[in-house]
Every structure is written in structure tokens, then in C-alpha cells.
């Protein structure tokens, strides 16, 4: 008996191992994807679900404190708030649209210039990519100094050509455009990179054919190159657009909490940050974040649809 037991156990182990192997083999696509899926679950789905739950409560002060379920009250409060929420939505959209528009047009222009080989090409490419590698908070600090209304470089430069000093970041109306400028300065290189990759993968033949047919440069760009580039352009818009919607760093670095004394640059992200970290109104803040999330997903969905239509 005592001799037999270990043998039986080991037989069982072998069997169990084989069974597991067979099971693992049958489900290998799940098994291999599992770590990534767990990762996504823990770091994205759980926080999202928790935020959704918080948005339905009146949680404030501390998330561990008792809170009541209030249904959609937070959403109602937020959606009827014309003092902070809707202006923030407006700012978020105008920031994104204007910055994105400038970045794509400028990016396309620069990409076309860099497309054909020329002397010193490498250096120019490196120089153009420099803003991209700078950290956004450092960029914010740098521009804040440059745009300082009293001791900043920008106004001294304007003074040289006789233009009166401008308020830049400290102006109620000029703060948002100034931060858009900073965003364009920093992120156009990324758009250039994506578009350049698209351009280099284009075949020369359609362009040559158009040339043979007597099309001028303008016509060749708008009727040949651009339509062929459309999928790439949409990828660039998609990537940059989502990023621009979520911009936080340069806004916070230049104007601080609340986006300035008049909330001049308070976008949805900055608003939600203030609600949770300054006001400790977690329920309300979560409602804003869920709405914001829906705006982003909606935009993404629209663009992806568009991309599919173009690709067909």
C-alpha cells in the first residue's frame, strides 16, 4: 500500500499535467492574451466602472466617507451649469479644433517640403523634431517666461518692431489662443512625422501620370496626392485630436488650477481636475469625466467611420 500510493499520485500528476496542457493548448489564444486582458481590466475597466459608480453618488470630502446614491442628479447639475461646464466644453472644442487645424495644415506643408531629398535634410529633420521630445511641463514653463508681459522675451521682440506689449497668457481673451500656439509649436512635428511616413509610402506613378496630362502642382496636390493621403491624414487627426482634447499639462503649467483667474483656459480636463483635487467633489467630478469620456469616444467613433469610408 505504502509503495503503491506514490506511484498512483505521480500517475495522477502526469495526468493532471497532460490535461492542463491539452486545455491550455485548446485555449491558447485566451491564455496568451490573458495578461494583457487582466492589465486592461485592472487599469482601465475597473477605474472606469468606479468613476461611473461615483458619478451616481454625492461623494465628497473623502471617497471613504459615507455617500448617498443620487441617481442622475450630478449629470443634471453639470449639464445645466452654464457658468463652468459649458464654457469648458466650448474651450475644449475650440482648443482642439483650432490647434488641430493649424497642426494638420502646417504639418502637411512641412511634410511636403521634407518629402524630396535635399542637402542637410537630416539636420532639418532633427531640428523639427526637437519640440516633440521636450516635456510638456517644461515647455509650459518656458513659454510662460517668454510670454511674461513685463520681463518676457516676446514683448521685447515686439518692441523692436514698434508693436506695443501684448498681455499674452495673462490676457482674458488672449490666454487661450496663446496656449493653442504653444500646442501647435509642440505637436506639429508629430503630425509631420505621420504625414511624412504616408508620403514616402505613396507610389510616384499617379503623380507622374497627372504630370503627363499637364496638371500643375496645385492640381496634382489637391486631386492626386491629397486623396491618396487621406487615410494617413485621418490617422494623424485621430491620434492628435484625441490628445488635444485631453490636453492638461501645458494648460496647468501655464495657468494653474482652474485655468486662470477668469477660467480663461479651463477645459473639461482642467475643470474635472479642479473639482476632484481642489473642491474634493468626487461625485460631480466623476460625472464631468464620464461626459468627457463620452465626447472623446464619440469623436473617435466619427473619425474611425470616416476613415473606413475613405479607405473603401
Amino acid at each position: 500500500m505504502s509503495v503503491l500510493t506514490p506511484a498512483r499520485t505521480s500517475g495522477r500528476t502526469v495526468n493532471a499535467q497532460e490535461n492542463f496542457s491539452a486545455w491550455a493548448n485548446r485555449h491558447r489564444k485566451w491564455l496568451f492574451a490573458a495578461p494583457a486582458m487582466i492589465f486592461v481590466g485592472v487599469l482601465i475597466i475597473f477605474p472606469l466602472a468606479w468613476t461611473l459608480y461615483l458619478s451616481l453618488t454625492d461623494s465628497q470630502g473623502s471617497v471613504r466617507a459615507a455617500s448617498d446614491f443620487v441617481g442622475l442628479e450630478n449629470y443634471l447639475t453639470v449639464l445645466t451649469d452654464t457658468e463652468r461646464f459649458w464654457p469648458a466644453v466650448g474651450r475644449t472644442l475650440s482648443f482642439t479644433l483650432v490647434a488641430l487645424g493649424c497642426e494638420v495644415i502646417l504639418g502637411m506643408g512641412i511634410a511636403l517640403l521634407l518629402w524630396r531629398p535635399f542637402r542637410g535634410e537630416k539636420w532639418v529633420r532633427v531640428a523639427i523634431l526637437l519640440p516633440l521630445v521636450a516635456t510638456p511641463v517644461a515647455v509650459g514653463m518656458m513659454w510662460r517666461l517668454i510670454f511674461d508681459p513685463n520681463i518676457g522675451f516676446a514683448n521685447q521682440l515686439l518692441g523692436l518692431v514698434g508693436i506695443p506689449p501684448q498681455p499674452w497668457l495673462s490676457g482674458q481673451d488672449s490666454a487661450l489662443p496663446t496656449t493653442i500656439f504653444m500646442d501647435v509649436w509642440q505637436w506639429t512635428p508629430m503630425v509631420v512625422l505621420i504625414l511624412l511616413a504616408g508620403l514616402t509610402s505613396l507610389s510616384d506613378e499617379p503623380d507622374e501620370a497627372a504630370r503627363m496630362d499637364g496638371a500643375n502642382a496645385f492640381q496634382r496636390f489637391f486631386y492626386v496626392t491629397l486623396p491618396l493621403m487621406m487615410p494617413t491624414v485621418i490617422v494623424a487627426i485621430l491620434l492628435r485630436g484625441i490628445d488635444a482634447l485631453k490636453t492638461f499639462d501645458i494648460l496647468y503649467a501655464t495657468k494653474g488650477k482652474g485655468g486662470g483667474s477668469f477660467h480663461e483656459v479651463e477645459t473639461l480636463n482642467v475643470y474635472a481636475y479642479g473639482l476632484s483635487f481642489d473642491y474634493n467633489q468626487y461625485g460631480l467630478s466623476s460625472a464631468v469625466l464620464i461626459l468627457f469620456f463620452m465626447i472623446i469616444v464619440g469623436t473617435m467613433w466619427l473619425l474611425t467611420m470616416r476613415k473606413k469610408a475613405v479607405s473603401k
Binding site: S21, A24, N25, P149, N150, P165, G256, K257, F262
Partner: protein
């Protein structure tokens, strides 16, 4: 064979992913109670303590693990970690007037009442009343003050001499002097302008004009006549005699920069920041800066006199006794004297009465501090739970006044909003 390899790969993949998550977890592994985890803000006080920590470690055999953060990051850290009930922090440096009330109510701060009474040598009675009040909550001691501040007048001796003006003793004299000195290059007056940042420095003007943020019954008082006058005066000084193109986002670093670049004659600010103006490495006007008590308004000179920072023990910490040992050491008479000599005004009465305590201070500053400590008010912002939001509300009229809008109308708007805020908070 094939099956085996699938299992092997899966095992490796699982191990790797576990490894990665473990890396993400980082410092969460449990530490022995011999290690005290201390979170401090970037401050001159912290620099002094940091240099002296080896001394503490040697005498107690404990190990100190120090995290040092900027003011805003520190707040965010506390919001995240204390909210989650984390025991990763033992000792925390916090702002009693900004966060103290909310933290105490949320149960983040350990009750230190019995601990402060334990040791007569360390002597809790040595602490000034105002700071003690600010670090207490519902008759319980929840923190030990470490740094105190009062608002004083910084001024440029050379500019005053050139203009033939005496140091202003009243608000009226201050305005007249600012007007006289103000020119295209040099502003007559500068101070904080940011909606939220300016509230604390504006508070002394408010008290000196006879107002306060709330009245005795706890109702909003920012719409009172006194408050309206104070708003109009503070904003008017900056609008009329302040720097050209003045930003409405200035906190102390920006306002201090204008003063230390030699671009302003008068500046009202916390005394604890004086080193920024007198250190030649940071200030172009180090030789010519003078200090005076806050000029008197209709209700006299009433600057705030508050503890800007304190030390507390995290309620969730499993190492509270050692955390207290650290606090007791860091707030001892000797350490307070050392810190005070390095330019950090402390909360201990005995250190102030000791001539060594003010030996390193400019004479006029020490005199101004003594005056302010006597007639000071114990708060520099609304005493509520959500201080951040309250500051934005009561700061609105300051900015309105600076930009030339009607201060009185803005104060009425702020009054309605502040009263609603106070009602909601109850």
C-alpha cells in the same frame, strides 16, 4: 512536446506579467516599524531638517524615509493616498488652514492630544495660541505647527529716500507714496493678483479695513461696506500703481520676482518669504530692501498671524509612536531655534523671546514681526472645509477690482455665492 512548450510559454508569460505588476506596486511592500516615512513640502524649513536627519537616526536608531514634494503635488498626493486609507505615510507636513479642517473631519489625522501633554521638557505650552488653535479640531490636537507667518510691508529704502518719503504707517500714506513713486519703469506697488493666491495677502487689508470673510454668526461678510472698501483699495493699488500689463495669475513667485528685479517700490507679502528678497543670489535689491509692519487701515493694522505649515501623524499609519518621536524631535526648542536662525519664523514663544531667535533677522523685520504677532488675526482665508472653492469665490472681487471692474458689484455677487457655499457646506 508541442503541448509542453505552450504550457512553458504561458508560464513564462504569466510570470513576466506578475513581475511587471509587482514592479508597478513598487514601494508597497511592508516596512519594519523601524522606518519612519516622512512626507515634506519644498521649503527652507525642510532643507534644515533634511540636513539634521542623520542626527535623529543616530540618536534613536530609527531610519527616516523622506519624500519631498512641491506644494501642489503634495496636496494631490495626500488627496490620493489619504483618500485610499494608505498607511504609506507616517508623518505628513500639511497646511493647517488650507487642509487641516477637511483632513481632520475625514479622519486622516491622528489625535495627538495625549502625546503633546506627555513631555514637559518639549513643552506644548510654549506654543503660541493662534497656531495651536489652527492645528486643533474639535478640542483635539491634530497637528504641531512648525512655521508661522504674518503679512508685512516690503519696501525699497533707496526709492523712498530719493522721493523723500517716510515709511507709510497708514493705508492712505501707502497709497500716496505708491502714487508718488510710480513711473513708467517702476511700479509703486505690487502684490499677488491670482484669484485664489491673492486671498491670503488680501485678508490683512480686509481686517485692517474692519471686515472679515464671515461674521460672528458664520454668515458671509464679503458684501459688507468694509469688505467692499478693502477690495477696492487692494485692487486699486495694483490697477493704478502696479506693474503695466499686470497679470491676474500672480502668486508669490511672480510678484516677488517683480519686486526683486527692482521693478516695484512696495510689496505686501508673508514675512516667511523674506530671504527671497534679502539673498543677493535671488534678489537685485538685496541691499536696499526694508521691512515695516502692515500699514494701518480704518480699523488699525491687523495682519494675519498664522501657522502656514504643521506636522501631523497619518491616522492610518501603523507606526504612530515612531512618527511622534520624529515630530517631537523636529519641533524641539533646539530645532525650532535652528530653523528660525535659518530664516523660518517658528511658533514657539520662548524662541521669539530668546535674542538668538531673531539674531539673523534684519532688525526692521524682527520689529515688524513683533508688532504683527501682537495684533495679528489667526486666519488668512475663510475657515471652511473646502478652502479651495471658498478662496475662488471670495477672491473674485480682488481680480475684478484689479481689472478695473466695479469692486462693489463684484463683492455683492461674491457675497451671494459665498453664502450659498456656506449653506451647502453645513
Amino acid at each position: 512536446m508541442k503541448r509542453r512548450s505552450v504550457v512553458k510559454y504561458a508560464a513564462v508569460a504569466a510570470a513576466l506579467s506578475l513581475g511587471l505588476t509587482a514592479c508597478g506596486g513598487g514601494s508597497s511592500e511592508s516596512k519594519g516599524s523601524e522606518t519612519v516615512r516622512v512626507t515634506l513640502a519644498n521649503h527652507v524649513w525642510t532643507e534644515g531638517i533634511k540636513a539634521a536627519i542623520p542626527e535623529f537616526e543616530k540618536s534613536t536608531g530609527l531610519k527616516v524615509e523622506l519624500t519631498q514634494l512641491g506644494e501642489d503635488q503634495l496636496s494631490d498626493q495626500y488627496n490620493v493616498k489619504l483618500n485610499a486609507g494608505s498607511d504609506e505615510i507616517d508623518v505628513m507636513m500639511y497646511r493647517p488652514l488650507q487642509e487641516g479642517k477637511a483632513f481632520a473631519r475625514n479622519g486622516y489625522l491622528a489625535d495627538l492630544t495625549s502625546k503633546v501633554a506627555e513631555d514637559a521638557d518639549w513643552n506644548w505650552k510654549d506654543y503660541q495660541d493662534g497656531p495651536v488653535k489652527a492645528t486643533s479640531y474639535e478640542d483635539k490636537v491634530t497637528g504641531v505647527p512648525i512655521i508661522t507667518e504674518r503679512e508685512v510691508l516690503y519696501y525699497r529704502k533707496d526709492l523712498l529716500k530719493a522721493a523723500g518719503i517716510e515709511v507709510p504707517k497708514t493705508m492712505e500714506e501707502l497709497e500716496a507714496a505708491a502714487k508718488k513713486i510710480s513711473s513708467a519703469d517702476t511700479a509703486g506697488f505690487v502684490a499677488r493678483t491670482g484669484k485664489s493666491a491673492a486671498v491670503t495677502q488680501f485678508s490683512s487689508f480686509l481686517y485692517s479695513f474692519g471686515g472679515d470673510f464671515t461674521d460672528e454668526s458664520g454668515k458671509s461678510a464679503v458684501g459688507s461696506d468694509e469688505a467692499k472698501k478693502a477690495y477696492a483699495f487692494y485692487g486699486g493699488l495694483i490697477k493704478n500703481y502696479g506693474p503695466k500689463n499686470v497679470s491676474t495669475d500672480m502668486s508669490w513667485p511672480e510678484a516677488m520676482a517683480i519686486f526683486t528685479q527692482g521693478k516695484a517700490a512696495f510689496y505686501t507679502e508673508a514675512d516667511s518669504l523674506y530671504k527671497n528678497a534679502t539673498d543677493p543670489a535671488k534678489s537685485k535689491v538685496a541691499d536696499t530692501v526694508g521691512f515695516a509692519p502692515l500699514p494701518a487701515g480704518p480699523a488699525g493694522s491687523k495682519p494675519y498671524n498664522i501657522p502656514s505649515w504643521g506636522l501631523a501623524v497619518n491616522e492610518a499609519s501603523a507606526n504612530q509612536d515612531n512618527a511622534w518621536k520624529f515630530i517631537k524631535w523636529a519641533t524641539s526648542k533646539e530645532r525650532t531655534l535652528e530653523a528660525q536662525k535659518a530664516g523660518v519664523p517658528g511658533p514657539r514663544a520662548s524662541v521669539w523671546s530668546d535674542p538668538a531667535g531673531t539674531s539673523t533677522y534684519p532688525k526692521d523685520l524682527a520689529a515688524a514681526i513683533a508688532v504683527s504677532a501682537e495684533n495679528g488675526v489667526g486666519h488668512d482665508r475663510p475657515q471652511v472645509l473646502t478652502v479651495g472653492k471658498a478662496r475662488e469665490i471670495v477672491g473674485g472681487p480682488i481680480v475684478a477690482s484689479i481689472t478695473g471692474a466695479d469692486a462693489s458689484a463684484a463683492a455683492d455677487t461674491a457675497h451671494t455665492a459665498f453664502q450659498k457655499f456656506l449653506d451647502d457646506e453645513k
